[in-house]
Protein backbone atom coordinates (compact mmCIF):
# COMPACT_ATOMS: atom_id res chain seq x y z
CA UNK A 1 0.00 0.00 0.00
CA UNK A 2 1.27 3.48 -0.80
CA UNK A 3 1.90 5.77 2.18
CA UNK A 4 -0.78 8.38 2.81
CA UNK A 5 -1.45 11.20 5.20
CA UNK A 6 -4.52 11.03 7.40
CA UNK A 7 -6.91 13.45 9.06
CA UNK A 8 -10.13 13.18 11.04
CA UNK A 9 -12.88 15.38 9.67
CA UNK A 10 -14.54 17.85 12.03
CA UNK A 11 -17.66 18.69 10.00
CA UNK A 12 -19.15 17.62 6.67
CA UNK A 13 -18.31 20.97 5.05
CA UNK A 14 -14.77 20.89 6.45
CA UNK A 15 -14.34 17.36 5.08
CA UNK A 16 -15.56 18.42 1.63
CA UNK A 17 -13.29 21.48 1.61
CA UNK A 18 -10.31 19.38 2.68
CA UNK A 19 -11.03 16.85 -0.07
CA UNK A 20 -11.16 19.56 -2.71
CA UNK A 21 -8.02 21.26 -1.41
CA UNK A 22 -5.83 18.16 -1.04
CA UNK A 23 -4.45 16.40 -4.08
CA UNK A 24 -5.64 12.83 -4.56
CA UNK A 25 -7.64 12.71 -1.32
CA UNK A 26 -10.39 10.23 -0.49
CA UNK A 27 -13.00 10.01 2.24
CA UNK A 28 -12.92 6.88 4.36
CA UNK A 29 -15.90 5.65 6.40
CA UNK A 30 -16.33 1.87 6.78
CA UNK A 31 -13.28 1.36 4.59
CA UNK A 32 -14.25 -2.22 3.70
CA UNK A 33 -14.11 -1.56 -0.04
CA UNK A 34 -11.50 1.22 -0.16
CA UNK A 35 -8.86 -0.59 1.93
CA UNK A 36 -9.40 -3.78 -0.01
CA UNK A 37 -8.63 -1.85 -3.21
CA UNK A 38 -5.71 0.05 -1.64
CA UNK A 39 -4.03 -3.21 -0.65
CA UNK A 40 -3.91 -4.34 -4.28
CA UNK A 41 -2.97 -0.95 -5.70
CA UNK A 42 -6.26 -0.24 -7.49
CA UNK A 43 -6.86 2.78 -5.25
CA UNK A 44 -3.82 4.86 -4.32
CA UNK A 45 -4.93 7.93 -2.38
CA UNK A 46 -2.27 10.29 -1.03
CA UNK A 47 -4.55 11.48 1.75
CA UNK A 48 -7.44 9.95 3.68
CA UNK A 49 -10.15 12.02 5.33
CA UNK A 50 -11.76 9.91 8.05
CA UNK A 51 -15.42 10.94 8.29
CA UNK A 52 -16.36 8.39 10.98
CA UNK A 53 -16.48 11.00 13.73
CA UNK A 54 -19.13 13.10 11.98
CA UNK A 55 -22.61 13.21 13.44
CA UNK A 56 -24.25 11.44 10.50
CA UNK A 57 -25.19 8.11 12.03
CA UNK A 58 -28.88 8.38 12.82
CA UNK A 59 -32.13 7.53 11.05
CA UNK A 60 -34.81 10.18 11.55
CA UNK A 61 -38.26 11.03 10.13
CA UNK A 62 -38.51 13.69 7.42
CA UNK A 63 -41.17 16.41 7.32
CA UNK A 64 -43.02 14.70 4.47
CA UNK A 65 -43.37 11.36 6.25
CA UNK A 66 -40.26 9.67 4.87
CA UNK A 67 -36.94 8.78 6.49
CA UNK A 68 -33.56 10.46 6.45
CA UNK A 69 -30.72 7.96 6.76
CA UNK A 70 -27.41 9.46 7.87
CA UNK A 71 -24.48 8.70 5.57
CA UNK A 72 -22.69 6.84 8.38
CA UNK A 73 -25.56 4.59 9.44
CA UNK A 74 -24.07 1.11 9.30
CA UNK A 75 -25.70 -1.47 7.04
CA UNK A 76 -26.57 -3.69 10.03
CA UNK A 77 -28.29 -0.85 11.86
CA UNK A 78 -30.24 0.27 8.81
CA UNK A 79 -31.42 -3.27 8.08
CA UNK A 80 -32.46 -3.70 11.72
CA UNK A 81 -34.24 -0.34 12.04
CA UNK A 82 -37.87 -1.04 12.97
CA UNK A 83 -39.19 1.72 10.67
CA UNK A 84 -37.26 0.36 7.71
CA UNK A 85 -38.43 -3.20 8.40
CA UNK A 86 -42.04 -2.03 8.58
CA UNK A 87 -42.29 0.49 5.73
CA UNK A 88 -39.32 -0.24 3.44
CA UNK A 89 -38.84 -3.97 3.90
CA UNK A 90 -37.19 -4.41 0.51
CA UNK A 91 -34.36 -2.19 1.75
CA UNK A 92 -33.81 -4.34 4.85
CA UNK A 93 -33.96 -7.44 2.67
CA UNK A 94 -31.45 -6.03 0.17
CA UNK A 95 -29.01 -5.03 2.91
CA UNK A 96 -29.22 -8.44 4.56
CA UNK A 97 -28.63 -10.17 1.22
CA UNK A 98 -25.28 -8.40 0.87
CA UNK A 99 -21.82 -9.15 2.28
CA UNK A 100 -21.29 -10.80 5.69
CA UNK A 101 -22.29 -9.91 9.24
CA UNK A 102 -18.85 -8.45 9.94
CA UNK A 103 -18.85 -6.32 6.79
CA UNK A 104 -22.39 -5.04 7.38
CA UNK A 105 -21.33 -3.91 10.86
CA UNK A 106 -18.70 -1.66 9.31
CA UNK A 107 -20.11 -0.69 5.91
CA UNK A 108 -21.99 2.61 5.76
CA UNK A 109 -24.98 3.85 3.79
CA UNK A 110 -22.98 6.32 1.68
CA UNK A 111 -20.06 3.93 1.27
CA UNK A 112 -22.38 1.23 0.02
CA UNK A 113 -23.72 3.62 -2.65
CA UNK A 114 -20.14 4.34 -3.73
CA UNK A 115 -18.90 0.75 -3.92
CA UNK A 116 -16.65 0.03 -6.89
CA UNK A 117 -17.34 -2.76 -9.34
CA UNK A 118 -16.18 -6.31 -8.62
CA UNK A 119 -15.22 -6.86 -12.27
CA UNK A 120 -12.16 -9.16 -12.02
CA UNK A 121 -10.30 -7.07 -14.61
CA UNK A 122 -10.79 -3.91 -12.53
CA UNK A 123 -9.21 -5.75 -9.60
CA UNK A 124 -6.24 -7.11 -11.57
CA UNK A 125 -3.73 -4.32 -12.15
CA UNK A 126 -2.00 -6.42 -14.82
CA UNK A 127 -5.10 -6.26 -17.02
CA UNK A 128 -6.47 -3.55 -19.26
CA UNK A 129 -9.33 -1.66 -17.62
CA UNK A 130 -10.73 1.67 -18.77
CA UNK A 131 -12.30 2.20 -15.37
CA UNK A 132 -9.04 1.80 -13.48
CA UNK A 133 -6.75 3.27 -16.14
CA UNK A 134 -8.70 5.28 -18.73
CA UNK A 135 -7.63 4.49 -22.29
CA UNK A 136 -6.05 1.12 -21.44
CA UNK A 137 -8.89 -0.92 -22.94
CA UNK A 138 -11.33 -3.46 -21.54
CA UNK A 139 -10.01 -6.96 -20.97
CA UNK A 140 -13.46 -8.09 -19.81
CA UNK A 141 -15.00 -7.80 -23.28
CA UNK A 142 -13.09 -10.79 -24.57
CA UNK A 143 -12.54 -12.35 -21.18
CA UNK A 144 -14.49 -13.97 -18.38
CA UNK A 145 -17.67 -11.94 -18.47
CA UNK A 146 -20.24 -14.25 -16.89
CA UNK A 147 -20.72 -11.91 -13.91
CA UNK A 148 -20.71 -8.70 -15.93
CA UNK A 149 -23.22 -6.32 -17.49
CA UNK A 150 -25.76 -7.02 -20.20
CA UNK A 151 -27.54 -3.71 -20.57
CA UNK A 152 -26.41 -0.08 -20.73
CA UNK A 153 -22.94 -1.41 -21.49
CA UNK A 154 -20.41 0.24 -23.82
CA UNK A 155 -17.41 -0.78 -25.89
CA UNK A 156 -15.26 0.70 -23.14
CA UNK A 157 -16.76 -1.09 -20.12
CA UNK A 158 -19.21 -3.86 -19.16
CA UNK A 159 -18.76 -3.60 -15.39
CA UNK A 160 -21.72 -3.90 -13.03
CA UNK A 161 -22.53 -2.01 -9.86
CA UNK A 162 -22.21 -4.53 -7.01
CA UNK A 163 -24.52 -3.03 -4.39
CA UNK A 164 -27.73 -4.72 -3.23
CA UNK A 165 -28.76 -1.73 -1.11
CA UNK A 166 -28.60 0.68 -4.06
CA UNK A 167 -30.98 -1.50 -6.10
CA UNK A 168 -33.63 -1.23 -3.39
CA UNK A 169 -32.98 2.49 -2.96
CA UNK A 170 -33.32 3.04 -6.71
CA UNK A 171 -36.70 1.28 -6.68
CA UNK A 172 -37.72 3.48 -3.75
CA UNK A 173 -36.71 6.74 -5.50
CA UNK A 174 -34.25 7.56 -2.74
CA UNK A 175 -32.41 10.89 -2.80
CA UNK A 176 -28.77 11.46 -1.87
CA UNK A 177 -28.10 14.64 0.12
CA UNK A 178 -24.65 16.13 -0.26
CA UNK A 179 -22.44 19.00 0.80
CA UNK A 180 -19.95 20.62 -1.56
CA UNK A 181 -16.55 22.10 -0.71
CA UNK A 182 -18.08 25.62 -0.63
CA UNK A 183 -20.63 24.47 1.94
CA UNK A 184 -23.55 24.42 -0.52
CA UNK A 185 -25.89 21.44 -0.23
CA UNK A 186 -27.89 19.64 -2.89
CA UNK A 187 -30.23 16.70 -3.31
CA UNK A 188 -29.57 14.13 -6.05
CA UNK A 189 -32.30 11.58 -6.86
CA UNK A 190 -30.70 8.16 -7.38
CA UNK A 191 -32.15 8.27 -10.91
CA UNK A 192 -29.63 11.07 -11.61
CA UNK A 193 -26.86 9.82 -9.34
CA UNK A 194 -25.31 6.91 -11.22
CA UNK A 195 -23.92 7.21 -14.75
CA UNK A 196 -23.61 4.70 -17.57
CA UNK A 197 -20.06 3.83 -18.64
CA UNK A 198 -20.07 5.26 -22.17
CA UNK A 199 -16.54 6.35 -23.03
CA UNK A 200 -15.82 7.42 -19.45
CA UNK A 201 -16.28 4.36 -17.24
CA UNK A 202 -13.94 5.85 -14.62
CA UNK A 203 -16.79 8.28 -13.89
CA UNK A 204 -19.48 6.41 -11.97
CA UNK A 205 -21.73 9.10 -10.56
CA UNK A 206 -22.57 12.79 -10.73
CA UNK A 207 -20.77 13.84 -7.55
CA UNK A 208 -18.34 16.71 -8.12
CA UNK A 209 -14.78 16.78 -6.70
CA UNK A 210 -14.87 16.94 -2.90
CA UNK A 211 -18.65 16.55 -2.70
CA UNK A 212 -19.63 14.46 0.34
CA UNK A 213 -22.83 12.46 0.78
CA UNK A 214 -24.37 13.37 4.15
CA UNK A 215 -27.64 11.42 4.03
CA UNK A 216 -30.04 9.44 1.89
CA UNK A 217 -33.73 10.21 2.16
CA UNK A 218 -36.60 7.87 1.44
CA UNK A 219 -40.03 9.15 0.32
CA UNK A 220 -43.13 8.48 2.42
CA UNK A 221 -44.02 4.77 2.64
CA UNK A 222 -45.43 3.24 -0.54
CA UNK A 223 -47.37 0.34 0.97
CA UNK A 224 -47.62 -2.83 -1.10
CA UNK A 225 -45.55 -5.99 -0.86
CA UNK A 226 -41.81 -5.45 -0.59
CA UNK A 227 -39.51 -8.03 -2.12
CA UNK A 228 -35.81 -8.44 -2.80
CA UNK A 229 -34.85 -11.57 -4.65
CA UNK A 230 -31.16 -12.21 -5.13
CA UNK A 231 -29.94 -15.05 -7.31
CA UNK A 232 -26.39 -16.15 -6.58
CA UNK A 233 -23.89 -18.95 -7.00
CA UNK A 234 -23.92 -19.83 -3.30
CA UNK A 235 -26.63 -19.29 -0.72
CA UNK A 236 -24.84 -16.59 1.27
CA UNK A 237 -22.02 -14.06 1.05
CA UNK A 238 -21.80 -13.73 -2.75
CA UNK A 239 -22.48 -11.03 -5.30
CA UNK A 240 -25.58 -11.27 -7.45
CA UNK A 241 -25.55 -12.30 -11.11
CA UNK A 242 -29.13 -10.98 -10.96
CA UNK A 243 -31.27 -9.42 -8.25
CA UNK A 244 -34.70 -7.82 -8.31
CA UNK A 245 -36.04 -5.24 -5.84
CA UNK A 246 -39.76 -4.67 -6.15
CA UNK A 247 -42.74 -3.02 -4.51
CA UNK A 248 -45.93 -4.62 -5.83
CA UNK A 249 -49.40 -3.27 -5.02
CA UNK A 250 -52.55 -5.37 -4.64
CA UNK A 251 -53.80 -4.32 -8.09
CA UNK A 252 -50.63 -5.69 -9.70
CA UNK A 253 -49.01 -2.33 -10.39
CA UNK A 254 -45.70 -1.48 -8.85
CA UNK A 255 -42.07 -0.51 -9.31
CA UNK A 256 -38.84 -2.42 -9.56
CA UNK A 257 -35.12 -2.22 -10.14
CA UNK A 258 -32.68 -4.91 -11.21
CA UNK A 259 -29.17 -5.46 -9.88
CA UNK A 260 -26.19 -7.33 -11.34
CA UNK A 261 -26.95 -6.42 -14.95
CA UNK A 262 -25.64 -2.89 -15.49
CA UNK A 263 -23.20 -0.15 -14.44
CA UNK A 264 -26.10 1.28 -12.42
CA UNK A 265 -29.05 -0.19 -10.53
CA UNK A 266 -31.23 -0.83 -13.62
CA UNK A 267 -34.67 0.69 -13.62
CA UNK A 268 -36.88 1.40 -16.63
CA UNK A 269 -40.08 3.14 -15.57
CA UNK A 270 -41.74 2.26 -18.93
CA UNK A 271 -41.26 -1.42 -18.14
CA UNK A 272 -43.21 -1.03 -14.90
CA UNK A 273 -46.37 -0.23 -16.86
CA UNK A 274 -46.23 -3.84 -18.09
CA UNK A 275 -46.22 -5.30 -14.57
CA UNK A 276 -49.86 -6.46 -14.66
CA UNK A 277 -49.00 -8.40 -17.86
CA UNK A 278 -46.35 -10.45 -16.12
CA UNK A 279 -42.61 -11.08 -16.02
CA UNK A 280 -42.09 -11.70 -19.74
CA UNK A 281 -43.56 -8.35 -20.77
CA UNK A 282 -41.65 -6.46 -18.09
CA UNK A 283 -38.39 -8.21 -18.84
CA UNK A 284 -38.73 -7.56 -22.58
CA UNK A 285 -38.99 -3.82 -21.94
CA UNK A 286 -36.30 -3.78 -19.25
CA UNK A 287 -33.79 -5.52 -21.49
CA UNK A 288 -34.92 -4.25 -24.90
CA UNK A 289 -31.42 -2.93 -25.61
CA UNK A 290 -29.47 -5.72 -23.94
CA UNK A 291 -26.08 -6.54 -25.44
CA UNK A 292 -24.94 -9.60 -23.52
CA UNK A 293 -21.70 -11.47 -24.19
CA UNK A 294 -21.76 -15.17 -25.01
CA UNK A 295 -20.82 -15.87 -21.38
CA UNK A 296 -23.49 -13.77 -19.71
CA UNK A 297 -26.36 -14.23 -22.17
CA UNK A 298 -27.92 -16.47 -19.51
CA UNK A 299 -28.70 -13.32 -17.53
CA UNK A 300 -31.42 -12.35 -20.02
CA UNK A 301 -33.70 -15.32 -19.19
CA UNK A 302 -32.49 -15.17 -15.57
CA UNK A 303 -33.91 -11.66 -15.19
CA UNK A 304 -37.27 -12.82 -16.54
CA UNK A 305 -37.35 -15.87 -14.26
CA UNK A 306 -36.28 -13.91 -11.19
CA UNK A 307 -39.02 -11.39 -11.97
CA UNK A 308 -41.51 -14.23 -12.35
CA UNK A 309 -40.49 -15.56 -8.93
CA UNK A 310 -40.90 -12.11 -7.41
CA UNK A 311 -44.34 -11.59 -8.96
CA UNK A 312 -45.47 -15.04 -7.82
CA UNK A 313 -44.31 -14.23 -4.30
CA UNK A 314 -46.13 -10.89 -4.45
CA UNK A 315 -49.38 -12.66 -5.28
CA UNK A 316 -49.00 -14.79 -2.17
CA UNK A 317 -48.70 -11.52 -0.26
Amino acid sequence: MKPFTYERATSPAQAAAAAARTRNAKFIAGGTNLLDLMKIGVEEPDHLIDVNGLDLDTVSPTDDGGLRIGALVRNTDLAADRRVRKDYALLSRALLAGASGQLRNKATTAGNLLQRTRCPYFYDTHQACNKRLPGSGCAALGGFSRSLGIVGVSKACIATHPSDMAVAMRALDAIAETVKPDGATRRIPLADFYTLPGNTPHIENTLTPGELITAVTLPRPLGGTHLYHKVRDRASYAFAPVSVAAVVQKDGTGRLAVGGVAHVPWRVEAAEAALPQGARAVSARLLADAQPTAQNAMKVPLVERTLAAVLAQAKEG
Partner: protein
Protein backbone atom coordinates in the same frame (compact mmCIF):
# COMPACT_ATOMS: atom_id res chain seq x y z
CA UNK B 1 36.69 -2.60 -8.00
CA UNK B 2 36.03 -5.83 -6.22
CA UNK B 3 35.64 -8.50 -8.86
CA UNK B 4 32.98 -10.13 -6.74
CA UNK B 5 30.64 -7.35 -7.82
CA UNK B 6 30.72 -8.61 -11.38
CA UNK B 7 29.92 -12.16 -10.48
CA UNK B 8 26.33 -13.20 -10.73
CA UNK B 9 25.39 -16.10 -8.52
CA UNK B 10 23.00 -18.75 -9.84
CA UNK B 11 20.32 -17.46 -7.51
CA UNK B 12 20.96 -13.86 -8.59
CA UNK B 13 20.86 -14.90 -12.23
CA UNK B 14 17.46 -16.55 -11.72
CA UNK B 15 16.20 -13.40 -10.05
CA UNK B 16 17.41 -11.27 -12.95
CA UNK B 17 15.83 -13.60 -15.49
CA UNK B 18 12.54 -13.57 -13.67
CA UNK B 19 12.59 -9.78 -13.49
CA UNK B 20 13.26 -9.37 -17.21
CA UNK B 21 10.66 -12.01 -18.07
CA UNK B 22 8.08 -10.09 -16.05
CA UNK B 23 9.05 -6.86 -17.76
CA UNK B 24 8.83 -8.43 -21.20
CA UNK B 25 5.44 -9.95 -20.43
CA UNK B 26 3.93 -6.76 -19.08
CA UNK B 27 1.95 -4.97 -21.77
CA UNK B 28 2.86 -1.29 -22.09
CA UNK B 29 -0.51 0.01 -20.93
CA UNK B 30 -0.02 -1.14 -17.36
CA UNK B 31 3.25 0.70 -16.88
CA UNK B 32 2.76 3.22 -14.13
CA UNK B 33 4.36 6.59 -14.50
CA UNK B 34 7.38 6.65 -12.23
CA UNK B 35 6.54 9.59 -10.03
CA UNK B 36 8.00 10.84 -6.81
CA UNK B 37 4.76 9.65 -5.18
CA UNK B 38 6.19 6.16 -5.06
CA UNK B 39 8.99 7.45 -2.91
CA UNK B 40 6.74 9.19 -0.41
CA UNK B 41 8.00 8.48 3.09
CA UNK B 42 5.78 6.49 5.43
CA UNK B 43 3.52 8.67 7.56
CA UNK B 44 2.97 7.92 11.22
CA UNK B 45 0.10 8.88 13.51
CA UNK B 46 -0.76 8.42 17.18
CA UNK B 47 -3.70 6.31 18.25
CA UNK B 48 -4.95 5.25 21.68
CA UNK B 49 -7.06 2.14 22.04
CA UNK B 50 -8.27 -0.10 24.83
CA UNK B 51 -7.43 -3.68 23.99
CA UNK B 52 -8.79 -6.45 26.20
CA UNK B 53 -9.23 -3.91 28.99
CA UNK B 54 -5.70 -2.47 28.83
CA UNK B 55 -4.95 0.98 27.40
CA UNK B 56 -2.60 1.02 24.40
CA UNK B 57 -0.94 4.20 23.11
CA UNK B 58 0.69 3.56 19.76
CA UNK B 59 2.51 5.46 17.04
CA UNK B 60 1.80 3.63 13.81
CA UNK B 61 2.33 3.94 10.10
CA UNK B 62 -1.08 5.18 8.91
CA UNK B 63 -1.29 2.12 6.65
CA UNK B 64 -1.35 -0.29 9.61
CA UNK B 65 -4.57 -2.27 9.75
CA UNK B 66 -6.15 -3.00 13.11
CA UNK B 67 -5.18 -6.63 12.48
CA UNK B 68 -1.49 -5.82 12.00
CA UNK B 69 -1.53 -3.47 14.99
CA UNK B 70 -2.85 -6.31 17.15
CA UNK B 71 -0.48 -8.94 15.85
CA UNK B 72 2.71 -7.08 15.04
CA UNK B 73 2.66 -4.20 17.52
CA UNK B 74 0.79 -5.63 20.52
CA UNK B 75 1.87 -9.23 19.86
CA UNK B 76 -1.69 -10.49 20.28
CA UNK B 77 -1.30 -13.24 17.71
CA UNK B 78 -4.53 -15.03 18.57
CA UNK B 79 -6.27 -13.01 15.88
CA UNK B 80 -5.33 -14.60 12.56
CA UNK B 81 -4.52 -13.21 9.14
CA UNK B 82 -6.15 -15.41 6.55
CA UNK B 83 -6.99 -13.67 3.28
CA UNK B 84 -6.36 -10.08 4.48
CA UNK B 85 -9.30 -9.00 2.26
CA UNK B 86 -12.40 -9.54 4.38
CA UNK B 87 -13.34 -12.78 2.68
CA UNK B 88 -12.45 -15.41 5.29
CA UNK B 89 -13.27 -13.93 8.69
CA UNK B 90 -10.16 -15.29 10.45
CA UNK B 91 -9.34 -11.75 11.65
CA UNK B 92 -12.73 -11.15 13.30
CA UNK B 93 -12.54 -9.16 16.56
CA UNK B 94 -15.11 -7.25 18.60
CA UNK B 95 -14.87 -3.46 18.40
CA UNK B 96 -17.12 -1.71 20.92
CA UNK B 97 -18.93 -5.03 21.15
CA UNK B 98 -19.52 -5.51 17.43
CA UNK B 99 -17.78 -8.08 15.26
CA UNK B 100 -15.76 -6.71 12.35
CA UNK B 101 -12.97 -7.83 10.02
CA UNK B 102 -9.87 -6.29 11.60
CA UNK B 103 -8.00 -6.62 8.28
CA UNK B 104 -10.27 -4.12 6.51
CA UNK B 105 -9.95 -1.23 8.91
CA UNK B 106 -7.05 1.02 9.86
CA UNK B 107 -5.84 1.14 13.44
CA UNK B 108 -5.82 4.96 13.34
CA UNK B 109 -9.57 4.91 12.64
CA UNK B 110 -10.24 3.49 16.11
CA UNK B 111 -9.15 6.23 18.49
CA UNK B 112 -10.73 5.51 21.89
CA UNK B 113 -12.31 2.22 20.77
CA UNK B 114 -12.59 -0.84 22.98
CA UNK B 115 -11.23 -3.91 21.20
CA UNK B 116 -11.78 -7.46 22.37
CA UNK B 117 -9.71 -10.23 20.81
CA UNK B 118 -9.79 -13.96 21.49
CA UNK B 119 -7.19 -13.36 24.25
CA UNK B 120 -9.63 -11.00 25.94
CA UNK B 121 -12.64 -13.29 25.77
CA UNK B 122 -11.09 -15.95 27.97
CA UNK B 123 -7.93 -17.76 29.01
CA UNK B 124 -7.03 -21.47 28.93
CA UNK B 125 -7.79 -21.60 32.65
CA UNK B 126 -10.93 -19.53 32.48
CA UNK B 127 -12.55 -19.98 29.10
CA UNK B 128 -15.43 -17.96 27.73
CA UNK B 129 -18.54 -20.18 27.39
CA UNK B 130 -18.17 -20.01 23.59
CA UNK B 131 -14.58 -21.22 23.80
CA UNK B 132 -15.62 -24.07 26.11
CA UNK B 133 -18.44 -25.03 23.75
CA UNK B 134 -16.07 -25.12 20.75
CA UNK B 135 -13.79 -27.47 22.73
CA UNK B 136 -16.70 -29.65 23.86
CA UNK B 137 -18.22 -29.94 20.37
CA UNK B 138 -14.92 -30.22 18.50
CA UNK B 139 -15.71 -27.06 16.55
CA UNK B 140 -12.38 -27.02 14.74
CA UNK B 141 -9.69 -29.19 13.24
CA UNK B 142 -6.55 -27.17 12.45
CA UNK B 143 -7.75 -24.27 14.58
CA UNK B 144 -6.60 -21.43 12.35
CA UNK B 145 -10.06 -19.98 11.76
CA UNK B 146 -11.19 -20.67 15.34
CA UNK B 147 -10.41 -17.33 17.05
CA UNK B 148 -12.34 -15.56 14.28
CA UNK B 149 -15.17 -18.10 14.46
CA UNK B 150 -15.48 -17.64 18.23
CA UNK B 151 -15.40 -13.84 18.15
CA UNK B 152 -17.90 -13.90 15.28
CA UNK B 153 -20.16 -16.32 17.19
CA UNK B 154 -20.15 -14.07 20.26
CA UNK B 155 -21.00 -11.10 18.02
CA UNK B 156 -23.71 -13.11 16.26
CA UNK B 157 -25.56 -14.00 19.46
CA UNK B 158 -25.38 -10.36 20.53
CA UNK B 159 -26.88 -9.30 17.19
CA UNK B 160 -29.77 -11.73 17.65
CA UNK B 161 -30.30 -10.35 21.18
CA UNK B 162 -30.31 -6.81 19.72
CA UNK B 163 -33.07 -7.78 17.24
CA UNK B 164 -30.94 -7.73 14.09
CA UNK B 165 -32.70 -9.80 11.40
CA UNK B 166 -30.91 -11.88 8.78
CA UNK B 167 -31.34 -12.91 5.15
CA UNK B 168 -33.13 -16.11 6.24
CA UNK B 169 -35.45 -14.49 8.79
CA UNK B 170 -38.85 -15.39 7.28
CA UNK B 171 -40.80 -12.53 8.85
CA UNK B 172 -38.62 -9.44 8.72
CA UNK B 173 -40.81 -7.71 11.30
CA UNK B 174 -40.55 -10.49 13.86
CA UNK B 175 -37.59 -11.24 16.09
CA UNK B 176 -35.31 -13.87 14.60
CA UNK B 177 -35.42 -17.29 16.20
CA UNK B 178 -32.30 -19.27 17.02
CA UNK B 179 -32.40 -21.90 14.33
CA UNK B 180 -29.54 -23.71 12.61
CA UNK B 181 -30.37 -21.87 9.39
CA UNK B 182 -30.11 -18.51 11.17
CA UNK B 183 -26.72 -19.39 12.63
CA UNK B 184 -25.41 -20.76 9.33
CA UNK B 185 -26.44 -17.60 7.47
CA UNK B 186 -25.09 -15.25 10.13
CA UNK B 187 -21.76 -17.09 10.30
CA UNK B 188 -21.26 -17.16 6.52
CA UNK B 189 -18.47 -14.59 6.76
CA UNK B 190 -16.26 -17.12 8.57
CA UNK B 191 -14.77 -19.82 6.41
CA UNK B 192 -13.44 -23.11 7.79
CA UNK B 193 -11.46 -25.03 5.22
CA UNK B 194 -11.31 -28.09 7.50
CA UNK B 195 -15.09 -28.14 7.32
CA UNK B 196 -15.96 -28.10 11.01
CA UNK B 197 -19.15 -26.18 10.27
CA UNK B 198 -21.64 -28.65 11.70
CA UNK B 199 -19.80 -28.79 15.02
CA UNK B 200 -19.41 -25.01 15.07
CA UNK B 201 -23.19 -24.67 14.75
CA UNK B 202 -23.62 -27.21 17.59
CA UNK B 203 -21.29 -25.19 19.82
CA UNK B 204 -23.05 -21.88 19.13
CA UNK B 205 -26.47 -23.50 19.58
CA UNK B 206 -25.49 -24.74 23.02
CA UNK B 207 -24.27 -21.33 24.16
CA UNK B 208 -27.35 -19.64 22.68
CA UNK B 209 -29.61 -22.07 24.52
CA UNK B 210 -27.83 -21.49 27.80
CA UNK B 211 -28.09 -17.74 27.45
CA UNK B 212 -31.75 -17.67 26.43
Amino acid sequence: MDTNDLRVSRRGFLKLSAASATLAAAPPFIARAATTDDERAPVTAKVSLEVNGAPQALVLDTRTTLLDALREHMHLTGTKKGCDHGQCGACTVLVDGRRINSCLTLAVMHEGAKITTIEGLGTPERMHPMQAAFVKHDGYQCGYCTPGQICSAVGTLDEIRRDVPSHVTADIQARASLTRDELRERMSGNLCRCGAYSNIVEAITEVAGAGA
